[in-house]
Symmetry: C2
């Protein structure tokens, strides 16, 4: 998928609506993917993102050790792969191969990006103080990529137990908010 | 709006999809409302929620001092009030009066609930260690309320600059995720 660089000042617009994301990591040449919904923006620019990665997940140790990951944002066309990545563990499965996803090299980190996702955020861990108690990692987005063809991405939003809300119409209101 | 108590184990289903919420507070008999999108679930049960309340907001000092607030979840029918609450400050405006919203008493905290919102979460601050650096409050949900008539709430999700995605259809996939 041909992507262009996205201004870091616009990253919040991708994560603020609350999409399910796919977090990619790599260690010793082995890449992994995990499905994640527990994230929030924490600052605009540079974009700071907080996310919970459970210590039961294979990705937990990798993020803690390598101090980097990518946040990849899928649309509804990838819903089956998103659930597949959530149902399996990187301990046993090479998820790129299993789910037919294409790793593409990042520019600033060692973890690969998922080519099929419409946006990709290259991140480094900047604060791990809340990891022991809450599994909460604070990330800075170093570089962002987006598919310029996606004007109204149909992201998916987890309602629990495999129910996903699909992004509907967009309305515009006279907001002074950023 | 007639609401029933919601099991705390189900609270994550309300916040995980990333809706814009209205945070209510009270101090010395004066209630306030702020619009907020930067929140994430951090644990299932008891439900732990992290959220960013900027120190530029009137609500910041109130939450820091009273150590409690309510998270009220609006649907698209309240979109104008949501934007109105975001465009004004509690320093100057009584937002309940200005926007025709009805305060209703909470059971566990002093801050009022917004009757017109389809769900309300009564919260206390349990960890303020990340407040100074990130304006990040960690809350425990003590009590949750929901309108049982709302099966597919049309929540709104901020895309930036007054653009809001309205929740669309829900799809179900064979997920093992909670």
């Amino acid at each position: 998928m041909a992507k262009r660089s996205l201004s870091l000042s616009r990253v919040y617009r991708l994560l603020e609506p609350g999409p399910v994301v796919l977090v990619t990591t790599a260690r010793k040449g082995q890449a992994n993917i995990m499905t994640l919904s527990w994230h929030t923006m924490m600052d605009f620019e540079p974009p700071i993102v907080g996310c919970v990665i459970s210590n039961r997940n294979y990705s937990f140790d990798i993020v803690k050790t390598t101090k980097e990951c990518a946040i990849n944002i899928p649309t509804v066309e990838l819903a089956e792969q998103v659930v597949g990545c959530g149902n399996t563990s990187g301990r046993k499965v090479d998820k790129f191969t299993r789910f037919g996803l294409t790793p593409s090299p990042a520019s600033r980190i060692g973890a690969p990006l998922i080519d099929e996702c419409y946006a990709n955020l290259e991140c480094k861990v900047i604060d791990a103080r809340m990891v022991t108690k809450y599994n909460f990692f604070i990330l800075e987005v170093l570089k962002a990529w987006i598919d310029p063809a996606q004007k109204q991405p149909r992201t998916i939003h987890h309602r629990g137990k495999g129910a996903f809300m699909v992004a509907g119409e967009t309305i515009n209101l006279p907001s002074k908010m950023k």
